[in-house]
Subunit: 292 residues, 6 copies
């Protein structure tokens, strides 16, 4: 993806079940503990059946539905599911996302684990979509960071894609991101970039964090793939974009919200990186209703 | 804990390392991926040493420091740590929580994982403390729910305690919580409670969700340990508390915030349960500064 | 469960497959080692089929049948099972518990793992039932302890329920049990109980071990949920029960057997706790017979 | 080990920590659950220290002490241990097996897990030693079977060695044991043995179960390494031993106890296999005493 | 297997799925990383279907097909497979081993993992078969060693069997192999053998490494099951075989290849052990072709 | 790394212990099985100590020494190690790589696991160095592929770096590699590249496999980061390099060996990718010698 070809039409593929099953399984076991769902086991007969619906209480974007439905299936494979609004869909209050039918015990036992996953991930997708919407018409893509929860990175990054965002690095190992501390230890930006190039494979991109336009000018001499423009205002960002002149991707970061995003995007940067998408998630309110 | 003896002096014990190490280890491995920290490995010499500090950027309450420091230790056991403000401590902007010294590579590689844990858990503690503060002087305790992230329940519930809150059930298996759907399937509140009693061990408490005062009156006949008063306003809560008259613990729930908490607590309930403490966490802003 | 409502009609729900599969899978892999069932692989053609029956050789109570049948299913999903006498059923010598049909290799390979689980857990259920039977007509419930085998607590406690018993704590975390050493360190019973109350959530019960009637009187002032009357004879237990007068559950413990249980139960205690149910298990003799 | 060289001087090596740590760790985590030792955390100050001793209440043979001590170490590495009577030692009532000193919290939290392992494994060693003692002076070795608990085979077989016994197969893969069902499917003893020989590696021994002396004669033609003489009385066993005449090891099995063992051993068999050693274990009574 | 009965007709049983699934699952997850197959997800529609064939590019022997096909099934259970040439089959260039049909995404995503397993294991089988072929007509069996890759021992040893070879020890625990260092520490061959006999169970064979004929003569006095004749030439091996005279199995080892094997086998040894079969594997060239 | 800046001075950082410990631990447990090292336990007294050296028998390049030494440390932490020639060092026959001293049991028990890792990984490094040496003086880098063993990718790719090579993709998720099948399904090279760009994050590079110069011309219009020139001879490669003219990295692949590499490198390509480096490894002959 070079600067000229960033487009909005990101496809959204499902994560392989192989990747999400261990997470869902562990979440269920954490909730079941050593005795299982003692309330349901005591009160609900094994023969009771029920029909339920996952219903949005607030407007938002769905994400994590596969994981949520898998929670029910792992508890009882006799539960049948029907998806109405899959990952990436925008839903309004009262809109049904999926329906489920089967043994009442399984539906009650898996409910909380399923909702925990669905509400959290839909919350990420919803917040992402809000910023994506706010910069529509600009060249800017919205990307997340590595500020994620243990074990949840693949799912949280998927939720960002469900909200129309794009993904930054997935870990310490799939791209180089040279920060101020690396530069300080290397002695200079040039030295840091040179070492990264020599060390890393040919399919690894290099991004460099810069705090000043002077650093940015130095970076442009070195041929990095992207520059992270940290905590700059719109005016300075516009100056930076002009200075880069398409020779690298430009990424703005630092406390960006749906309110501040439009002005930053208007400065012409390619990317807005927003840590809050995954580190400060407001769960989307989705409930499980019993239907007759 | 019966209604008369709820006090504010909850002790805060550290979680055994045995319980948090698997979480921290998995988080680090998720970030290291298959190639490790390629930026740091390329740029920072193995012999470089550094001194850093974990510094609060915003006011808040610390939680998860053990987990954060363990991230550094697991990456490089030569890193030495010094705790200034441990879990449960209130910190102001610029205040140092802990200092670390050792090989620069390890400090840089573990930084994000450590901060992800520390900022998230301190965010929970901070939000908890805000509500706890708002109801000081009342009998009300603030409790969290099972609306947690996969694998993080023990740590998130610990963070609630660090913020001065208390813990509701840890899972489906350590207490009975009879909800409307259980009652609907059982046929009546009485039938549901009776079955739960017969099924569960003598050290298991029973809490019953009630939506109306009529249900509450029925519950009082049955001798439950606690009642969950769902989505009731302060006036109705006061009426409910009077009706219960100390025969059970009273718990208010439903969208409680630091703004609405004082009025609800003033109604005389024993417990305020707040799902948002763990399902919608705003990370506390804590940074890692290099010190000379 | 307060003293007045302890009843004998404990329901028996199956443990979720999610909870028992890891145990059965690990047991099979432990037996298969690195080369698998070399005897069967060498001698039995892949095409051979067989019909077998799990048959009780001695009278007893069935427990763990789900786990046993799962062993066969995990080895070869083509094996079909038919349950005649499920968990909780009393069986006599020669009585068939379940029949299985399918590839002979799988039936032979899984046999030992399946029987190990079934005989052990049925042994627990059988021993539990013997004590439960011996106190029938009294108010006393029979409960197990935390004296279990690594990884087997959920299954062993389930087996106790299958035998008509009830469960004490499942771990260190789901109820408070204050023992003499805790009291010694706290300085007094009152101090220990007070700290426990302040520390623990509102759905956690508190039980206190007492060795003398003087301690028991002090405990009654403190409002604990249950008292553990350790190593007291029937006469002293009767005195203790009278002293408690329904204000807490009373639990007798200390070397209780089917022989000594009736006299202890006759003293009026609510609970008999029997460590031997899980720490000294005599396997029920159940065999696998080939049927034509 | 051929028939002539079976001796009593079996060495007892410790199992590598690598093999027992996962078991102990899992056992502790099972007991800690999601909230840890809430009783101890609430009542015992982090600074309290204690000295305790593991003391036999009944006579027996120690086994599993490494695992028991590891439970304390894994909970708190500051706990120091001192072994007085290690695995294989005979102890009398009141005799101290080991002493420990360190933080009181860790000592209390690990106590039950440590005792569960130590009492169970010492129970196995004690029962083994009783049978070994009963046949002293004969050529017979006492061996255990595959009738073990999930995940515990290595430790339980070690406990048998600690009691002076020897080990049969560790799994389905380390030796061939041809049973009646294998023979039935193969069509003849000869066919079964021939297939096993062709299939298995040169370091794999072959044992054959025989129920009659006719079968035994046939087996002697085939050159098997050992014969399992199932459910034969002393007279028939003596006849079998004479018939084998040292050409294979002879193993008696079927409900052998310390009472019946001497007569069976007197028949001259090389091995007595006793399933009850591991499938019906009576825990040795060992307690943890606080010492001043 | 004694010297007289070693035959070539080793059966080849499939490994239980239970044993290979964890390996295949881990291999797929290692390749999927945190974002999955981004190339395929981006380019290939979820609805696209394909038909592919696993085709040998070079002549060889198939091994590991179950594992390879399982890789596809674990990625997408909708993929259907058809086996033409299973484990142990000899294939020529261009010969189809199996065909698969189903969702194109799954076929592309699992391709590399499946081929990695199939090519590696078929490479082992092919190299084994070459040596087995080279000694056809002699009494010698070809066996592998413990020089295997982490986690792959069961599969690699299975591949040796697929190539017509046999298996030596599977680990440190299923047979005794006394090497020169053991002898040096024990003080003498006799002492080492005596200790091994006393320590090990009755179903454990003992093999002794000897470097000289003098040592071999000493070993024959001690009644070991097999002797490892290390780095001896054909003439010395023939002398050794004569000296042993059928009293033990004779195994030649030390850099044996298909070129040197015939002369060594002609010396009359029972076994040729070849570490290179598993430590220096040349993958068999097998490709995945899309078919119309 | 763009074409102009590829240099030979790749640094070699150690993999974090966190990443290699699970592999080494699993390898040891696989070898220990359920009974441990029965030979050593029987013969070698617990008090015996030894000094050993890891010694190269053939010339080569060291890799995996950390993993090998960790095997000893995990078996017995009392073993002390001293590194003479670390990863990346060239060694000659008879040259000592490291020395170890400590309990003889641990040294003997860990020996095979340690050597399996060290010989395999050093074999990879040695083969890599041979090709790297053969193209010295050209611009070409030698890279490995995803043709690795399950669970070993990180270590095998590290070994390639130790031999002076560089790494291609680590998995399906860290770079896009568009192959012929992707193009066929997409309908055209342009469509495939366009979809990949839209789908993937800004730090993901795109490489395209081309089989003809016509395809290569089309690719140059699309701005890909690298082109994989599959199975082209030197002349055609030279033409391809000229056509690309520095606009993308050029990678040659297809059966490259140390013999064919120089001519291919002379064609001016940036990268030679060699699957055999990891899929067909010849272990480096390294032994463990006891030293006095």
């Amino acid at each position: 993806m070079d600067a000229a070809t960033v487009t909005a039409e990101t496809a959204l593929a499902a994560l392989p079940r192989l990747m999400i099953e261990p997470i869902v399984r562990a979440a269920l076991l954490e909730d079941l503990g050593r005795a299982g769902d003692i309330t349901t086991d005591a009160i609900v007969p094994a023969s009771a059946r029920a029909r339920v619906a996952l219903v949005a209480r607030k407007p938002g974007v769905v994400a994590g539905l596969d994981a949520a439905l898998l929670a029910f299936e792992l508890i009882d494979s006799a539960i049948e599911t029907n998806v109405l609004r899959g990952d990436g869909a925008r839903v309004g209050p009262g809109e049904t996302i999926a329906t489920l039918a089967g043994p009442a015990r399984g539906l009650l036992t898996a409910e909380r684990t399923a909702l925990n996953l669905l509400c959290h991930l839909s919350g990420i997708a919803t917040a992402t979509a809000a910023i994506v919407d706010s910069v529509r018409g600009t060249r800017a893509h919205v990307v997340c960071t590595r500020k994620t929860m243990p074990g949840m990175r693949a799912l949280q990054k998927h939720a960002v894609r469900a909200g129309g965002g794009s993904n930054h690095r997935f870990g310490l190992d799939d791209a180089v991101l040279i920060k101020d501390n690396h530069v300080a230890i290397a002695g200079s930006v040039a030295q840091a970039v040179r070492r990264a190039r020599a060390h890393c494979g040919h399919l690894v991109k290099i991004e460099l964090e810069v705090d000043t336009l002077a650093q940015l000018r130095e970076a442009m001499e070195l041929g990095v793939d992207a520059v992270l423009l940290d905590n700059m205002g719109p005016a300075m960002l516009a100056e930076a974009v002009a200075l880069v002149a398409g020779r690298a991707l430009t990424e703005a970061s630092g406390g960006i919200t749906a309110e501040t995003a439009p002005a930053i995007a208007a400065a012409g940067v390619d990317l807005l990186s927003v840590g809050a998408l995954t580190h400060s998630v407001k769960a989307l309110d989705i409930g499980l209703d019993h239907v007759s």
